[in-house]
């Protein structure tokens, strides 16, 4: 029987959402092909997690070892390459996350598997894995195909629903990890928490966020004044932090903060996936951008296609006037 592997991603004792999403999609693909869905749970003291996953897979295979206590691509790769070599799964799903990005490419190279990364759609047919993935910063969608089965696919967070729970639980299997040597070329030392920053953007009902379109740090006050007249806070997308124009604590997105304000006003933000996943819980999203094809308009409730340097001052003035008349 064909087998599909899903690598369980967990951090600090918590199963990460992408795991359940991969199991949801894995279940669908496995059912379509009559394949067995196996969740691979690597770690140390992770039995409790196996219990919560067992309703979502035909088997949860638990592999515990001291070397797997923290995520380490080296140790994970050694365990997974052996499993893939022995069992030849038709498909292996790994999160397109900081962990998956560190693990999947070298694993695929070692076992000789095709690798499809940052995937938002998967089909398994005609002896190949076909996937949909973003290119050119998400402005274009590519349909790519693996040469042969056995592909390793890294799955974009949020791309699939965490469905597939069943009433009849699968089985929990235990397996041993074998390491060829004690010498580690790579060591996890510790987590480093983000600096708290001057203000917590997650606490505000109104977030006005600025992106690459601002062009120059000297233009920031323009947007900051808009935030202020609305009684909101100023946040930003990644390029603004990369250029050191605003501190990391103001960044909205996967690698920054997740915000859920009533109003999220995106100014000069194109809407890369990494940013959009930080505003999924926002009430109303308004976007101001000069590019009508910017992905931000695909998630915005209201959009203004125009030059922010004209729109923002006009908007600020108009709001100030309305407020003054109250």
């Amino acid at each position: 029987m064909d087998e599909i592997f899903v690598l369980v991603e967990h951090r600090k004792g918590e199963i990460r959402d992408v795991t359940l999403e991969m199991l949801g999609k894995g279940r669908e693909v496995a059912d379509g092909r009559g394949a067995r869905l196996t969740a691979l749970l690597l770690g140390k003291d992770v039995s409790r997690m196996a219990q919560t996953l067992v309703s979502r897979a035909d088997a949860v295979e638990v592999i515990e070892h001291e070397r797997l206590a923290d995520f380490n691509s080296d140790a994970y790769q050694e365990v997974l390459s052996r499993l893939i070599d022995e069992r030849k799964p038709v498909l292996t799903l790994i999160g397109h996350t900081a962990f998956g990005l560190d693990l999947a490419p070298s694993l695929a190279a070692e076992v000789g598997a095709p690798l499809l990364t940052d995937v938002t759609g998967i089909e398994l047919a005609d002896g190949a894995v076909t996937a949909i993935r973003p290119v050119y910063g998400g402005k274009v969608r590519a349909r790519v195909r693996s040469r042969g089965l056995g592909a390793i696919v890294t799955v974009q967070s949020g791309a699939f629903a965490a469905t597939g729970e069943r009433e009849t639980a699968g089985e929990i299997v235990r397996a041993d990890a074998l390491f060829s040597s004690d010498l580690a070329q790579k060591k996890f030392l510790r987590f480093v928490e983000a600096a708290a920053g001057d203000l917590d953007i997650t606490q505000s009902d109104i977030v006005v966020s600025v992106g690459r379109g601002i062009g120059d740090p000297k233009n920031l006050p323009l947007v900051e004044e808009l935030a202020s007249v609305l009684g909101g806070v100023l946040a930003c997308s990644r390029p603004v932090v990369d250029k050191k124009w605003l501190p990391k604590s103001r960044q909205v997105g996967i690698s920054g903060k997740t915000v859920q304000p009533k109003l999220y006003l995106a100014v000069g933000i194109s809407g890369a996936f990494q940013h959009l996943s930080g505003i999924k819980g926002a009430g109303i999203v308004v976007a101001i951008n000069k590019d009508p094809k910017a992905p931000i308009f695909r998630v915005a409730d209201y959009g203004i296609v125009g030059d922010l340097f004209t729109v923002v001052p006009t908007l600020k003035e108009r709001i100030a006037k309305v407020k003054a008349n109250k």
């Binding site: 190279a109 690798l115 693996s146 040469r147 990644r238 308004v286 125009g306 729109v311 006009t314 709001i319």
Partner: protein, 263 residues
Amino acid sequence: MDIVVCVKRVPDTAEADLSIDRSGKDIKKDDLVFDINEWDNYAIEEAILLKEKLGGTVTAVTMGSEDDEEVLRRCLALGADNAIRLEDTAFVGSDGYSTAVALAAAIKGIPYDLILTGVQAGDDGYGQVGPTVAEILGVPHATLVTSVEIEGKVARVRRELEGGLEELVEVQLPAVLTIQTGINEPRYVSIAGIRRVARRDIPVKTAGDLGLKPDEVGAAGARIEVEGLSLPEAGQKGEILQGSVDSVVEQLVGIFASKGWLG
């Protein structure tokens, strides 16, 4: 410390209006401006910073046509000592894997303690080449690196995780590190700097020079292929406000007021 940096020249598509070409497998690139991949720009800067601190050499490598040579000149102008360009008709149609095969073969012939490249490229976005080069060369790697400290034969690096969290990892040298944007503040290249290296001879290596057979590289050595590209529907979830600036602002203020956000 001898450092090799893998760089790529990519079209700047952030603000461009894109369309699909006749093959259906790529975008039209005639009107696009090309530059060094944003992530690689941080990687070459990090290499130069490490060289300034620790001494040694920096070698920039790219796979591409004569047009792509400009990114190597840029690296030389920034302070790289050497540059190598890989070009061969056999390299055409490379995927992330077969690109890594060619790069690894080229790097094998150079002394190195550290190999740096960007986390991903702004065009394909595979995020795969760095760690694949590491696997082929049999050295460890760390991806999504946001700071690098070298202590003897060890690199102590921070990796960016999700939600503002990072991890501190130790990697034995030689190693491959993929560099995340924001790790440093890339310096600008002066016109004088570019002029200074304009006549430098940049060696070109073919698959044969690297000891690679044609079926190991390019489309023949690729493990995945692009079937086709499509542009996502311009369709929006919500409403694009229409009219003059004054009119759209007025409409938006009306919406804000109706939600009770204007006090």
